[in-house]
């Protein structure tokens, strides 16, 4: 790791005032330390936000759930309110990484972690996302890479929390030197076509200071499924969150987001549309699952993902009918 200056910020304001030049925010540090050790970047200053008070709350208000950016994955997975009402979010937090990492990793850091593509993570590969000429995954080892929107760069977005949060229609509050703004997660993440060097629109002097999940409609349930390669801890080869609003066994509205599918959390719009107004059963779930893969452009080694996604999308939908 390079030598750096260290700022232990006590307030959001103090942190923001230090975020100039080659400074970078440190929350849990799980992703950042890995990048520093690999020499992917050499910041001049680390601004530690871990000790800022008040950024680690989980609260439910009139307009929904508010999650502080320093809430750890472990806490999200154990929180009673989250488990009961926003089940898929607790499930995603509890299935990510390992117990030790869930104790360290924060919600804000999880949304902002950089891609895990093995070419991106290695200093020797100067890929497009690092300002180079090519995406090495496109004709390289691409079994874990994207099956949608993978023409320029085939990373998959690494955040497990982004999958349910986007399905719930969450927003992030970004606070910077010019004040605060609120952005829907849907517009927060950027595709390679929009900007290949970044995964989201946060500015260098901004912090995520809150994550807001809107109040759920009545009779809305959510379910998250992650499929890894091993039974024990693993990154997902495919994950999905389905949020369904129902009346009896009829689906009024569906929100379905896929993880590990594309460079951004991927909304399965056709699958959502196909479910609206239908009775939830094996047949409608199967049809929605099939539609969720329509338009996929798998690479040489990841066609298997289509069958995996179809299976977990179908199961996530059917779980709501049975719960």
């Amino acid at each position: 790791m390079n030598r750096f200056e260290w700022t232990d910020a006590a307030t959001v304001h103090e942190a923001i005032s230090q975020l100039n030049g080659r400074a970078v925010v440190k929350a849990g540090g799980v992703d950042l330390l890995d990048r520093l050790k690999e020499g992917l970047e050499a910041p001049q200053r680390l601004v530690n936000i871990r000790n800022i008070r008040g950024l680690d709350r989980i609260e439910e208000g009139k307009d929904g759930l508010r999650i502080g950016p320093l809430v750890t994955l472990a806490r999200l997975s154990e929180d009673k309110l989250v488990l009961e009402r926003y089940t898929a979010l607790a499930q995603a937090a509890g299935r990510a990484a390992t117990p030790q990492i869930r104790n360290m990793a924060t919600a804000g850091g999880n949304l902002l972690q950089r891609p895990r593509c093995w070419y991106f993570r290695q200093e020797e590969f100067h890929c497009r996302r690092k300002g180079g000429e090519r995406c090495f995954a496109l004709d390289g080892e691409n079994q874990y890479h994207a099956i949608f929107d993978n023409q320029l760069c085939a990373i998959v977005h690494p955040s497990a929390l982004a999958v349910p949060l986007m399905a719930f229609g969450a927003r992030v509050v970004l606070t910077g030197s010019k004040g605060a703004r609120e952005v829907e997660l849907e517009r927060f993440f950027v595709t390679p076509e929009q900007d290949i060097m970044r995964e989201n629109i946060i500015a260098p002097d901004e912090l995520i200071t809150e994550i807001k999940v809107p109040r759920l409609q009545p009779a809305t349930r959510s379910f998250y499924i992650k499929q890894g390669e091993k039974e024990s801890f693993d990154w997902p080869v495919a994950d999905v969150c389905a949020v369904l609003q129902t009346k009896g066994n009829v689906c009024l509205k569906a929100s379905i987001v896929l993880g590990a599918a594309a460079p951004v959390p991927w909304r399965a719009s056709k699958a959502e549309a196909s479910l609206a107004g239908k009775v939830i059963n094996e047949q409608s779930a199967r049809e929605a699952a099939r539609l969720s893969m329509e338009g996929a452009t798998p690479l040489a080694q990841n066609r298997y993902k289509l069958a995996v996604f179809e299976a977990i999308v179908r199961r996530a939908i059917l779980r709501q009918a049975s719960s």
Binding site: M1, N2, R3, F4, E5, W6, T7, D8, A10, Q18, K26, G29, V30, L33, D34, L36, K37, R45, L46, N48, R50, A74, A97, T98, P99, Q100, I101, N103, M104, S232, F233
Partner: protein
């Protein structure tokens, strides 16, 4: 508070129930500070990537990976390493059962397993086999095949609950 690039960081924290002060190069991980600056080599250096769990220590009672924590990060906190598990010259019940049941072979993974198991048993004195597996999922062992480790955690849990538990014969002598 901002500090410029310094040759040495200087922090105070509690380590295994004692107050310590230590100076180290500011970019060092907690793993390096423990092993190199405090000479506590019980905490092992494995993958350095967060994948093997052998570098696990407890910070404020929660298991974390010392290879992904900066030394600077534990200022004012309470750190427990495997060296702090024995009390008044007596091994922790988990250390006893790991030794008795062959849950440690080469032993490289053992400190990490012991600390995660300690965190588990403090929160949940009677975990099921499934809960034990889940809690230990972030620790790799190349030697034991894990079964002995689960059995050692179960036996220690029973003893810590005050039960007079002995290992089943087949755990020691093998299954028919």
């Amino acid at each position: 508070m901002t500090e410029g690039i310094r040759q040495k960081a200087h922090i105070e924290f509690r380590l295994n129930d004692e107050a310590v002060e230590v100076a180290f190069a500011p970019h060092k991980t907690l793993l390096e500070v423990l092993r190199e600056d405090l000479n506590l080599t019980g905490t092992k250096h494995g993958c350095e990537l967060g994948e093997c769990g052998t570098c696990t220590v407890l910070v404020d009672g929660r298991a974390v990976l010392s290879c992904l924590v900066l030394g600077l990060d534990v200022e004012g906190r309470e750190v427990t390493t495997v060296e702090g598990m024995a009390e008044e010259g007596r091994l922790h019940p988990l250390q006893d059962t790991f030794a008795d049941l062959g849950a440690a072979q080469c032993g490289y993974c053992t400190p990490g397993f012991l600390l995660v198991a300690k965190e588990l048993l403090e929160a949940n004195p009677q975990p099921s086999r499934e809960e034990i597996k889940e809690a230990l999922a972030g620790n790799l062992c190349r030697c034991t095949g894990y079964i002995k480790i689960y059995e050692a955690v179960e036996l220690a849990a029973a003893r810590m609950r005050g039960e007079e538990a002995r290992p089943a014969k087949e755990i020691i002598y093998g299954y028919e």
